[in-house]
């Protein structure tokens, strides 16, 4: 199962990518929302995207809105992974079409739990 990890930090992409790989996902990395849309077009079978909020070029919220405006990706689960902890911002992300919200810092167990809630416990589970 393919998954995107979208974050402008290479370190954070490495951490999240490692967690998803351990769960059995094939991971594609993207550095911002615009890059992610291009990667998504090359990976149409992706079932999951972990999305940072604050990124250059195109932020996470704009990416979510772009994905939800395209019916080709209606099966894609979107999980925001962010340091933005304000309730209003979480609500905005969920209203825009995000399926779950994870606050940084996180543990491997939290990521696995969120994927479980989305029916994406991981191909190896």
């Amino acid at each position: 199962m393919d998954a995107l990890v979208i974050d402008d930090s290479r370190a954070m992409r490495t951490i999240l990518g490692g967690m998803l790989t351990d769960l059995g996902f094939r991971v594609v990395q993207a550095t911002d929302g615009r890059d992610a849309l291009a990667r998504l077009a090359e990976t149409p079978a992706a079932r999951l995207a972990l999305v940072d909020w604050n990124m250059p070029e195109m932020d996470g919220l704009a990416f979510i809105r772009a994905v939800r405006a395209d019916r080709a990706y209606e099966g894609l689960k979107l999980v925001v992974v962010s340091t933005e902890t304000e309730q209003a911002q979480m609500a905005t992300a969920l209203e825009a079409g995000a399926d779950e919200y994870v606050m940084k810092p996180f543990t491997r167990a939290v990521i696995a739990e969120k994927l479980g809630l989305l029916g994406l416990a991981g191909p190896s589970a």
Partner: protein, 164 residues
């Protein structure tokens, strides 16, 4: 909720242990000497109902250990851009969580990182320090500093466009 030294330590400890698996203790000075040793400083600005910035500063050797953990490689194998990236993300997580103790709504900037010897840092607009907490990890100093603008910041046209 309001920002205290204890909140700053708890937030930093949470990031340090959950992401790096490294221990962290409260301590007083000495802080890293920016004048004689290579240090890194990650800075994230906050704009909105509260305006200012949070900074995370440590010696390059501690930043290297942190980056090695985040990238899953040996410390001697970590490249300079990986160290800078890692400290920027750690600053992003620490300052982002400190924002919960400040008036809302507000937004975070992308992190910026300074890496070198003998540098000075100027925060845009007049500012004053409101908190400084010194900690140690593996015997090396880690400092978190919070500055607030002492005069209201006038948004530039670019900032206004970004917020709209």
């Amino acid at each position: 909720m309001h920002l205290t030294d204890d909140n700053i330590f708890r937030v930093t400890e949470s990031v340090w242990t959950l992401i790096l698996g490294l221990e962290l203790q409260r301590s007083g000075p000495p802080e890293p000497d920016r004048g004689t040793e290579r240090t890194l400083l990650g800075s994230v600005q906050i704009a909105g109902a509260w305006e200012g910035a949070g900074q995370v500063q440590c010696p390059a050797s501690l930043a290297r250990r942190a980056a090695a953990t985040m990238f899953g490689v040996a410390p001697e194998a970590v490249e300079r851009d990986q160290i800078q990236d890692a400290l920027g993300e750690l600053a992003n997580m620490i300052v982002g969580n400190l924002k919960a103790f400040l008036p809302q709504p507000s937004r975070l900037s992308l992190p910026t990182v300074v890496d070198g010897v003998g540098y000075t840092v100027r925060i845009p607009g007049s500012s004053r320090e409101v908190a400084r907490v010194t900690m140690r990890s593996g015997g090396e100093p880690l400092v978190v500093v919070v500055h607030t603008r002492s005069t209201p910041h006038r948004a530039t046209p670019l900032e206004r466009a970004a917020r709209s």
